[in-house]
C-alpha cells in the first residue's frame, strides 16, 4: 500500500544511534498522518526534520516522547526504540520516558510563575534535588547552559512571562535541561522569534549538542542547513529522504527533495 520512497545517504560515519524509529505509522482517527517512517537519531548530533506544512514532521517528533498520547484519537504503530528499549511497550512509564526525552514547543510556554519556579519545577517533581541549595544550583546551571543566566540573574523571582519572546524560549530550554534529559525535541522553536533571537538559540543548540541529542522540526531550510548534521525531509506523511545535511542540500537523490529545497513545492 505504501510505496517505499525512503532513501538514505550512507555517509553518516559511525555515530551510534540513541533513538531509532522503525515502520512508524500514525493515525488521527481514520486519517493516516505518518506512513511507514523509519529513521535513526544519532547521538550528540542535531537532526532536523523539514518539510512543508502538514507533512507530519511535528506529529513524528511528538512520537518520540509519546506526547501524542494526550490526543485521544491519535494511534501510533511501529517501533520506536530509545537506548534499545521500545518506548511504546505497555510497561514503559511515560512519566519516566519524558524525563529522559525533553521537549521545547513552537510557542514559548513558560508557566505563569517566577523564572526560578519555571526551571525548578522539573527537578522538584522528579526529586532530583535533595536540598534547597542543590535545587538552586541545578536552576543556575540550567539557566547558564541555556545562555539565559546573565540576563536574568538579578530577577529570578519575576514572572517567566515577563521575559521577551526569545528569552522565554530559552527559559523553556533551560526548563527542559533542568531535568537532565538525554534527548531534547524541539518543535519549531524559532518560528515566533526574530532573526537575532533565532541566532542566539541556534548558537545555543550548537553548544548543547555536546551534552544532548537534539531533534528539531523546522520549516526554515536555512536553519536546518545551519544547525543540523542530519536532515530528514518529510512530504505528505512520508519520509522522502534522510541523511547527512550537506548531502541533502547539495545533492538530493529524490526529485521531491530537490523540488522542495529549490522552492518549487511547499
Amino acid at each position: 500500500m505504501i510505496y517505499e520512497t525512503k532513501t538514505t545517504h550512507e555517509e553518516k560515519g559511525n555515530v551510534p544511534s540513541i533513538m531509532t524509529a522503525n515502520n512508524v505509522d500514525v493515525f488521527y482517527g481514520k486519517k493516516q498522518a505518518i506512513c511507514n517512517v523509519s529513521l535513526d537519531i544519532p547521538e550528540n548530533q542535531i537532526t532536523a526534520l523539514i518539510g512543508p506544512s502538514g507533512c507530519g514532521k511535528s506529529t513524528f517528533l511528538r512520537c518520540f516522547n509519546r506526547m501524542n498520547d494526550t490526543i485521544n484519537i491519535c494511534r501510533v504503530s511501529g517501533k520506536i526504540k530509545f537506548s534499545g528499549q521500545d518506548i511504546y511497550e505497555p510497561k514503559v512509564d511515560v512519566v519516566a520516558l519524558r524525563s529522559r526525552i525533553g521537549m521545547v514547543f513552537q510557542k514559548a510556554n513558560p508557566f505563569p510563575k517566577s523564572i526560578f519556579e519555571n526551571v525548578a519545577y522539573g527537578p522538584r517533581i522528579h526529586g532530583l534535588a535533595e536540598s534547597k541549595d542543590e535545587l538552586e544550583s541545578i536552576v543556575v546551571q540550567s539557566l547558564k547552559r541555556a545562555g539565559l543566566y546573565d540576563e536574568v540573574s538579578d530577577r529570578l523571582n519575576e514572572p517567566g512571562t515577563s521575559l521577551s519572546g526569545g528569552q522565554q524560549q530559552r527559559l523553556c530550554i533551560a526548563r527542559a535541561i533542568a531535568v537532565d534529559p538525554q534527548v531534547i525535541l524541539m518543535d519549531e522553536p524559532c518560528s515566533a522569534l526574530d532573526p537575532i533571537a533565532t541566532a542566539i538559540i541556534e548558537d545555543l543548540m550548537e553548544t548543547m549538542k555536546e551534552n544532548y541529542t537534539i531533534v528539531i522540526v523546522t520549516h526554515s531550510m536555512q536553519q536546518a542547513a545551519r544547525v543540523s548534521q542530519q536532515t530528514a525531509f518529510f512530504h505528505l506523511g512520508e519520509l522522502v529522504e534522510s541523511g547527512d545535511t550537506q548531502a541533502i542540500f547539495t545533492n538530493p537523490i529524490q526529485e521531491r527533495t530537490q523540488n522542495y529545497i529549490s522552492g518549487r513545492i511547499g
Partner: protein, 425 residues
Amino acid sequence: MPNYILNTSRQMAKRHGREKRFKWYGRIAIFISIAFLIFMFSAIVFRGASAFQQTKISLDINFSEAIIDPTSSRDPEILKRANYKPVVLESLSNVIPGITDRRDRNRVYKLLSAGAVFDLGEQVASNPKLLGKSKSVWLLASSEVDLFMKGKIDSNISEDLRRLKDKDIEWIEILKSQGKIKKTFNTTLFGKGDSREPEMAGILGAAIGSFFSLLVCFLIAFPLGILTAVYLEEFAKKNFLTDFIEVNINNLAAVPSIVFGLLGLSIFLNFFNLPRSTPLVGGIVLALMTLPTIIIASRSILRSIPQSIRDAALGLGASKTQTTFHHVVPLAMPGMLTGTILGMARALGETAPLLMIGMVAFIVDIPKGVTDVATSLPVQIFLWADSPEKGFVERTSAAIIVLLVFLILMNLCAVYLRKRLERRW
C-alpha cells in the same frame, strides 16, 4: 484614481446609515433596561426605606415590687413573665390626662406594641436592681402608631376606615408635644426573628438560616462540582458515556428549581429522615441545584486554559495529576470561584425548593446550627408579602433591599476574586 474612496456614494451612505441605526437600537435597548431597573429599585427603596426606622415611646416606669414580684423571689423566669401592664398603664396615664374608664385604658395601652411588656420583663430579669426604682424607658410603639408617625395613615379619611381612631391620634399628638415619641433606627428588623406583629418582626433569623443553608450548599457543591468538572474535562475519555453525562448535566441546569425541592422532600426527608425545615436539608437541595451551574462554569474555564501549559508540564515528565493540580487547576481557580459564587448567589435568592422541604414555616427563634429549624431570606420575603398587616408592606421591601445587598456583595466578591487572582500567560 477611483473616486469612490474619497467621495461618499449612495451605497456607502446606506452602509453608514445601517451602522448608525444599529448603534441606536443598542442604545435604546440599554436605556430601556436601565429605566426598568431604576424603576424597580426606586420602587423597592421608596417603599422599604421607612422600615429602617421604628417608633418608640418614652415612659417613666415605676418598677413597683409589689406588682411585679410580690413574693420577692427574684426568679428571672417570674420576673420575665410578670404582669407589667399595670405599671405601664400607670405611667401612661401620668403622661396622658383624662384616662379613666376601662375602654380608654385598653385603647391607650394599645399604643404600645404587644411586645413592649416582654421587653420590660427582659430588662428587669437581666437587672433585678431595677425593682422598686423608677426609670425612663423607650418602648416599642404599635405598628399602627409607627405607620402614623411615618405619615402612612391619612387622618383625613373617615374614622371608620382606619384602625387608628381620632382619639389615638390625639394621644399621639400629646406624646409628640412632650417629646416622648420618636423614630429611631430599627434594630428590631436586624436583631430579631420573625413575629406576627410587624413592629416586632426581624430578618435576623431568616438571614442566619440563609447563611447556614449557603454554608452547607458551598461545602457540598464546591468540592463536588470542581472535582467533577476537573475529572470530566481533564481525565475522562471522550466517549458515549461522558457525552451522555454532559448532556444530562446541561439538562439539570435547566430543571425548574421546585423539582429539586420535590427531590429533597422525597429523598432526604422521607427516605433518609433528615430533620425537616432545617438549613441542612435546604443546603443539600440548593447544592444539588447549584452543582450543574458550577460544573458547567468550571468546565468552560478549564477548556479555556491553553493546551500549551499542559504540554509544558507533560513534556517535563509531570504526570497527568501533577499537570492538572499544579498548573491547570490553579490557573482555573479564579474562574471556578467566580462560577461558584454566582451559582451560590442564585441559590441565595431561591425560594421554591425551600418551600417543598418545609423551610416556609413561621419560625421565631434564631437558628444556632444547621439542624435547627429555620427559614431563609427569600422565603421570609414571601411570608411577609403574604401577611395582611399593613406594617409588613414596608418590611417586605426592606427585606428585599437586604437580600439585594447580599446578592450585590456576593457578585462584587466574584468580580474582586477574578481581578485579584487572575494570572496572565
